[in-house]
């Protein structure tokens, strides 16, 4: 052994300082995690591709929404003001640009398209949360901790996609059929789509993707050039919501 204990401790200390230093700088800037985990294990970047052509074939289909609500105990509230939404439908003009694209998108105008949390690469909601109740995982999923959330709703003000809901009232009596495998929420906390991380952990795809009979939703690893989602993005023009804001959504829409 040529390294004596003092030198080793010194080097270890410097390393620790460097790690914590960059970590706190990262925290200050609110930047994300590196692309690969320290062990060199390749981490997927989960993403979704919505095929609008297929989705709109069966106009009025809401299987994805029903499956999501069943899986996650999403409450149904009667008033629009108090609605809780994970995946829902918006008129095309609202989902994309408030004023549409002139005559170019005639076929899509007025059509209802599915929208959900975009699990952004650079999520403003994570940046603003004062208690780290929402954070971004290595695989890109933006998570919510319902036990830490203080209900300040700053994340809702920051989300440019209206993807977050607040439990204005007690949601529990408003869940039709409680799924015992997933937690219910309490009033006063924010919630949203979690890309079915509990199903991904079991090696299954998201509930909405599974429920879609038209196969309009595709889910997979955006970092893998051979994945189905990458294949779909290669084959036809796709768009993301509000790209000008720099949030880098990981939900794509094939026109």
């Amino acid at each position: 052994m040529s390294v004596d204990r003092r030198a080793f401790l010194g080097a270890a200390g410097l390393c620790a300082l460097a790690v914590t230093g960059t970590r706190s700088l990262e925290a200050l800037a609110g930047t994300g995690r590196p692309e690969t985990a320290p062990q060199g294990r390749r981490v997927p970047r989960w993403g979704m591709v919505v095929d609008l052509r297929r989705c709109l074939q069966a106009d009025g289909c809401t299987d994805c929404i029903a499956a999501c609500e069943r899986a996650h105990n999403v409450p149904r509230l009667p008033s629009r003001a108090h609605e809780v939404k994970w995946i829902w439908r918006e008129p095309y003009e609202r989902a994309f640009a408030q004023r549409g694209s002139g005559y170019a998108d005639e076929a899509l105008r007025g059509k209802l398209v599915p929208v959900l949390c975009n699990h952004c690469d650079n999520p403003p909601c994570v940046r603003v949360c004062p208690v780290k109740a929402t954070w971004k995982r290595e695989d890109g999923i933006v998570m919510m901790d319902w036990h830490r959330c203080i209900g300040c709703r700053y994340c809702m003000a920051a989300c440019p996609y209206g993807a977050r809901s607040f439990n204005w009232l007690d949601p529990r009596p408003r869940v039709k059929e409680v799924n015992p495998d997933f937690p219910t929420r309490t009033r006063g906390v924010v919630e949203k789509c979690n890309f079915c991380e509990e199903r991904l952990a079991q090696g299954r795809g998201p509930a909405c993707v599974e429920a879609c009979r038209e196969r309009a939703l595709a889910f997979g690893d955006l970092r893998d050039p051979g994945s189905q989602v990458r294949e779909q993005l290669r084959s036809r023009h796709a768009m993301r919501r509000k790209p000008e804001l720099g949030t880098e959504p990981s939900v794509y829409y094939r026109a």
Binding site: Q98, V131, C149, I150, G162, F166
Partner: protein, 399 residues
């Protein structure tokens, strides 16, 4: 010295009784909100912040405005502000207390309030806002207490107070700047996404706060005979004239950028506020009333002959305060949420419990201010006390 708060006439106690009643009513409404959730407010999925957070924003301005009297008095040794400065500091303490209460009642999970300290998050502006507000509360409480205690004993204020006072000056600017950053750093909220928001916040704060201070000082003279002096009120009136002018100028600059560029995102918000959008026009009379009051007050303030008339100065100050309260205490916050990022136009009207809770917090602030002013008046009025300009508290900082 604090025992001075308890000696008071029937009118003083009757006033405290009125405030206590309002506080009890608000506490009952808050109990209901705790039991049922924030669903009892007029807030919604689209308009997630309303009366509470808007009042918080407005009152941060009132608190920050103490700098307008602190700076000339301590930094430039402007003796005319001798008596009004301590009132300004006490008003700042009450205003910050109200701010913290308004944030607290807006929380969905108030029992978890300490999470903000348990998981400090430097990337969140809310974290910094909490820090600067708590710091400002501490600074003003310490400064007001130390100066009054010194006066009480008839000695000059302690030497260590000098640097504390100097620190409080940039700190006052920081509380409103950071509060503006809460809003102006959010993508997709186009009414707020402007670098002019922080300067606008400061200009409106330095108008509304001193306007309130002038009114309170006039009221105090009528009720207790404690006179801050005509010159002080006139000088403060001149400051209100300048800051209100700058504030209106800032608003016009903003309007030019938004309407001349014709970029639709920001226009929509102004249309909602001033013309109504998709049938939602609840705030339109409110915002126009704010504009009319602003214009009328400027007319009074910018005409020296009118401003020198104490009655008209009072009227102008009331108009400035009301105008800015209407704009910042509701319009600016609600207007930022409508239309929503998805283009939804949702109305917002505060509900009765919401108004009761807000009134109760104002009552807490008024109670605090009344008690603090009472102590100030009592200490200053002591026989042999320092109640003369020549012997007023010596400025610890020599300009």
């Amino acid at each position: 010295m604090p025992d001075r708060a308890f000696g008071g006439g029937g009118r003083y106690w009757a006033w405290l009784g009125v405030l206590a009643t309002l506080i009890v009513a608000g506490a009952l409404a808050y109990q209901r909100q705790l039991a049922l959730g924030l669903g009892i407010t007029g807030l919604s999925r689209d308009v997630t912040w309303g009366l509470y957070i808007a009042q918080f924003t407005f009152l941060v301005g009132v608190a920050a405005s103490a700098v307008v009297v602190v700076l000339p008095y301590y930094l430039h040794d402007y003796r005319v502000f001798g008596r009004i400065t301590i009132l300004g500091e006490c008003l700042a303490v009450s205003a910050v207390a109200m701010c913290l209460l308004f944030v607290f009642v807006d929380m969905g999970q108030p029992a978890r309030a300490l999470n903000v300290l348990l998981y400090p998050t430097p990337s969140s502006i809310m974290f910094w806002d909490m820090l600067v507000l708590a710091g400002y509360l501490g600074l003003n409480a310490v400064i007001a207490r130390a100066t009054l205690a010194a006066e009480h004993r008839g000695v000059p204020p302690p030497r260590w107070l000098g640097p504390v006072i100097v620190l409080s000056i940039p700190w006052a600017v920081s509380i409103h700047t950071v509060t503006a950053f809460l809003y102006s750093g959010l993508p997709g909220r186009h009414l707020w996404l402007t670098a002019l928001l922080a300067p606008r916040f400061l200009a409106s704060a330095f108008a509304s706060g001193p306007a309130l201070l002038i009114l309170l000082a006039m009221l105090l003279r009528r009720l207790t005979g404690f006179d801050v002096g005509r010159e002080a009120l006139q000088k403060l009136g001149l400051i209100v004239a300048y800051t209100m002018t700058v504030n209106v100028f800032f608003v016009l600059v903003e309007l030019f950028t938004v309407f001349y560029s014709q970029a639709p995102e920001a226009i929509d918000h102004f249309e909602f506020l001033f013309l109504g959008l998709e049938g939602q026009a609840g705030l339109v009379p409110w915002m126009w009333a704010s504009v009319i009051l602003a214009v009328l007050s400027l007319g009074l303030l910018l005409t020296p002959r009118l401003r020198r008339d104490m009655r008209l100065l009072a009227a102008a100050c009331a108009m400035v305060f009301a105008s800015l309260w209407m704009d910042k205490g509701l319009g600016l916050i609600v207007g930022g949420f409508v239309p929503s990022p998805l283009g939804e136009v949702t109305g917002y009207v505060p509900t009765l419990p919401e108004v009761a809770i807000a009134l109760a917090i104002w009552a807490v602030g008024s109670l605090l201010a009344s008690v603090l002013f009472k102590v100030v008046v009592a200490v200053r009025g002591e026989p042999g006390g320092p109640d003369s300009h020549s012997r007023s508290v010596r400025a610890p900082v020599e300009a």
